[in-house]
């Protein structure tokens, strides 16, 4: 059982802060929250909304439907009414507009003059607080439920501001209590869950926190939605450890800076979204050929070009895997959950040091920006130990120097050449973007070209993608195998459960590593299923094409794609799954 609430209005009306206070309040009460921000690439006006799914168990998406919509304007009704459950309520800003509903919709309109209340008890900018108070009344919270947050958020503006906000909340509460007898029921909380300490964070927070735990001390980046929050988190976390957040002049510089720090021995990363990643692609080749570790986070948004900056998409898999000229080494991870973000960024740093190549962490807007409840124990700081790979100590370098001299690109059996750092005596070397000899000297002769290329290929051969994110759940050898990657795990999981409940044999294969591709595991899963449905938040079917490339062509593979800029809803996957199964049974019978 869960309850979903959404507040909508124009950008600049405090929709986000109202949503976040509502979400955090219920989170602290012991509910599992999943909060989804719908916003636009503008500062004032337009339409923005904040949806909160409140549940007694953990969900990894925003939910298909809506119980209570708080509407500041008609547009909020028009854009969101389709989600409202039959018999759900719309709490609207009475006096500000006269709401219109389609005749065939079963909705309970509740008018509360929120703007007027705000004016009377505080100021018009507190309209969102009147909405909070009214919401509290309708879902059975106390009128003082938000008092602590109001103090936390507005304390810096003075005691009178805090007091005014609280008054507006109470007046909103009072008005709604009197306006209607409609009441929502929040899910039942087991006693042990009440007030339980849990974390409320989004993927971007988890990336930032994981990076700090991994020993990352420099982040060079250029602001871009939806990745900038990673910088905000790191600005709070890094200075404590002497770390630096540097706003570079552009993404070319940002990525080159991350490479420079890593060359000098400091773990560093850059974070961006599609347009910025495009500018970084030259540096992927540089890091590959110079064998310098670097970690790049791409919080995908809908492209191409500037595209839809505030909308989600899984559109950058190809660019993460194939971009940059020539043939260059890299690893691409695609975390599926907030917890994955925390661990995968740590793995990324270890892998970058181990294989001395770029590691790309692909998340997306919906995972990056949706705050959700996470168990404290699931953010384990000691699960992944820092492993710097073959980074030489001062003494080791001296010993190598005394025994024939240090060669940066030595042709070793593993293909990994131990790394000396600038500043170490005896380890003087040149790291280079040109093809080179073992010493790092520019060279175009076939002998060195072939030897160095084979060395770079050889070093990746011990990477086992299955270790880094191949999840399987549900039935083995199912009638239908759902396949997804990255942030869609929550909806696919719920779709699997819904289909299962109807007696369908269904499995779920979820990938959190895209390159090198886990071909063996994917082949086995695909070949054991009667039908396969690949679920992707893009139009071209990038995972499907990767499967075709790495595993092969199969007639029983079908797809479910969404590229509207919105995350999947469960019913969309379920409907498509049934369509595929129905077509299949017709074919098999006929």
């Amino acid at each position: 059982m869960d309850f979903t609430w959404k507040i909508g209005g124009a950008q600049g009306e405090g929709i986000d802060s109202a949503g976040e206070i509502f979400a955090l309040t219920l989170h602290r009460k012991g509910y599992y929250i999943y909060a989804y921000r719908h916003f636009m690439s503008l500062i004032k006006g337009g339409h923005t909304n904040y949806k909160v799914r409140i549940s007694s168990k953990q969900h990894r998406h925003r939910g298909d439907q809506l119980d209570l919509l708080v509407a500041f304007d008609q547009r909020s009704i028009d854009e969101n009414l389709h989600e409202l459950k039959s018999g759900g309520a719309v709490l609207y800003n009475a006096g500000a507009f006269e709401p219109k509903f389609p005749a065939d919709v079963d909705v309970v309109p509740i008018g509360v003059p929120m703007q007027q209340i705000a004016k009377d008890h505080g100021s018009i900018v507190m309209t969102n607080m009147a909405a909070m108070g009214a919401s509290a009344a309708l879902v059975g919270l106390e009128p003082d439920a938000f008092d602590d947050f109001i103090a936390e958020r507005y304390g810096k503006h003075g005691a009178d501001v805090v007091e005014a906000n609280r008054k507006v909340v109470r007046a909103g509460f009072q008005a709604a209590s009197e306006a209607t007898s409609w009441r929502a029921r929040l899910p039942e909380l087991p006693p042990e869950a009440r007030g339980k300490k849990r974390l409320f964070m989004h993927g971007n927070d988890a990336i930032a926190l994981g990076a700090v735990v991994a020993g990352c001390r420099v982040v060079a980046a250029y602001p871009i939605t939806p990745a900038t929050d990673i910088l905000y988190s790191l600005l709070k976390l890094l200075p404590e450890y002497g770390g630096v957040v540097l706003q570079a002049e552009d993404e070319m510089a940002a990525c080159q800076m991350a490479v420079g720090c890593n060359y000098a021995g400091v773990r560093a990363m850059t974070s961006t979204s599609g347009p910025g990643f495009s500018l970084m692609t030259e540096t992927l080749g540089l890091a590959s050929v110079s064998e310098t570790p670097v970690v790049i986070v791409d919080v995908q948004r809908a492209g191409p070009s500037t595209g839809m900056p505030t909308k989600t998409e899984q559109g950058d898999a190809f660019q993460a895997i194939f971009s940059s000229h020539g043939e260059s080494q890299r690893i691409v991870l695609a975390p599926a959950t907030v917890e994955d973000c925390f661990y995968d960024i740590q793995r990324a740093f270890n892998l970058a040091d181990k294989y001395q190549c770029p590691v790309i962490v692909l998340t997306d807007l919906s995972l990056g920006l949706s705050k959700q409840t996470v168990e404290v124990d699931d953010i384990d700081f000691e699960k992944i130990a820092i492993d710097r790979g073959q980074l030489l100590t001062e003494e080791q370098v001296k010993e190598i120097a005394a025994n024939g001299g240090y060669k940066r690109y030595a042709l070793t059996e593993s293909g990994i050449s131990p790394r000396a750092l600038p500043g170490q005596e005896g380890g003087v070397h040149l790291a280079i973007s040109y093809e080179h000899t073992e010493e790092g000297w520019e060279d175009e002769t076939p002998l060195h070209r072939v030897a160095q290329t084979e060395k770079r290929i050889r070093k990746m051969s011990t990477f086992d993608p299955a270790e880094f994110g191949v999840r399987q759940s549900g039935d083995a050898s199912p009638d239908l195998l759902l396949v997804g990657w990255g942030s869609t795990i929550g909806q696919i999981d719920e779709a699997r459960e819904a289909l299962k409940a109807e007696g369908i044999s269904v499995g779920h294969l979820h990938l959190s590593v895209l390159y090198p591709f886990p071909a063996k595991e994917v082949r086995e899963a695909i070949e054991s299923a009667r039908a396969v449905l690949i679920v992707e938040n893009n139009a071209f079917g990038q995972l499907q094409q990767l499967i075709q490339l790495n595993v092969g062509h199969y007639d029983h593979i079908h797809h479910c794609r969404k590229f509207s800029g919105e995350p999947f809803k469960v019913f969309e996957i379920v409907a498509r799954a049934k369509e595929v199964l129905a077509a299949k049974s017709v074919k098999e019978v006929g």
């Binding site: 800076m257 420079g260 060359y263 000098a264 280079i432 520019e442």
Partner: protein
């Protein structure tokens, strides 16, 4: 600093140059090696970062640590190395195309960011490595393979551009005067903050106009002029305007805190030597922020 270093130590790591005989860049490497030796710096304490160009091979021949990046990208890498390890002496080097063409965005921002590195531009007014196309510092009307009717564009003036962008050390040298160049490099390295040394370094193969003789006839050494005060910004603008930039010496200098001094909680101990295990011990405190 006890000067126990010799140029020989640098030569131990250096490669055989492949520059054209007579190329101005030889003098730049020689002057830099002498400057480093004179400052008592050993090869392992120095990193030279380059992009691409004939001049981009500067760090093949210098004999210190080197990072050779891509065309135009020496400065971002060099600044980052200094952030990672402020004990290292970091020199970025490259050509006029590398620094004032494809990399000019980084140049302007490096000036205002003021990270403590030295930037040497071997300015030959031409693209040497790609065999003779026009460069951002080519004079208007200059004929090259890509400007057979003469360059239509006005050249970049690196010195006023640097001063206007907040560079606290702006100098210019000439490959025909190695001793003077060495003194400029020493001053630039010792300057705390971003330091530019633009060096007129003739391309004997593709630029037949700005030759050694031409430079000798046209350059005035400001360091020899007792009445010139390089801390006077207005005077610096005036002299580079009046002479069309045909001056050598320290043009402008200004002391101000460097980037790292301005950072909150920045530890003088280089980042590369910091203990990475601290956050694990701080788990409770760190998680509190997300409750």
């Amino acid at each position: 600093m006890a000067s126990t270093v010799t140029v020989k130590e640098y030569r131990a790591y250096a490669q055989q140059p492949t520059w054209c005989p007579g190329c101005g860049d030889f003098a730049v490497v020689a002057a830099m090696q002498r400057a480093l030796v004179n400052l008592g710096l050993k090869p392992h304490q120095v990193v030279a970062v380059t992009g691409i160009g004939c001049s981009g091979k500067f760090n093949y021949y210098l004999g210190a640590n080197g990072f050779n990046s891509m065309h135009g990208r020496s400065l971002p890498v060099a600044q980052a190395i200094k952030i990672a390890n402020r004990d290292l002496v970091v020199i970025a080097a490259g050509g006029d195309g590398d620094g004032y063409g494809i990399g000019v965005g980084h140049f302007i921002h490096a000036c205002r960011r003021n990270i403590d590195i030295t930037y040497v531009v071997m300015d030959n007014h031409i693209y040497g490595l790609t065999t003779g196309q026009t460069s951002p510092t080519s004079e208007k009307g200059f004929k090259t393979k890509t400007t057979p009717y003469g360059a239509a564009e006005y050249p970049i003036r690196p010195l006023p551009l640097a001063i206007a962008s907040g560079c606290g050390f702006v100098a210019q040298g000439f490959s025909g005067d190695v001793k003077h160049l060495q003194s400029l490099f020493e001053a630039a390295i010792q300057h705390k903050g971003f330091a530019l040394v633009n060096v007129f370094s003739p391309c004997v193969t593709f630029n037949k106009e700005q030759t050694y003789d031409w430079w000798r006839e046209n350059l005035v050494n400001l360091d020899e002029r007792e009445d010139y005060d390089p801390t006077d910004k207005a005077a610096a603008y005036k002299v580079v305007t009046e002479t069309n930039g045909l001056v050598t010496g320290i043009i402008y200098r200004e002391e101000r805190p460097d980037y790292q001094d301005e950072l909150p909680n920045y530890d003088p101990k280089p980042l590369v030597y910091q203990d990475l295990s601290k956050p694990v011990k701080d788990r409770e405190k760190l998680l509190q922020a997300f409750m």
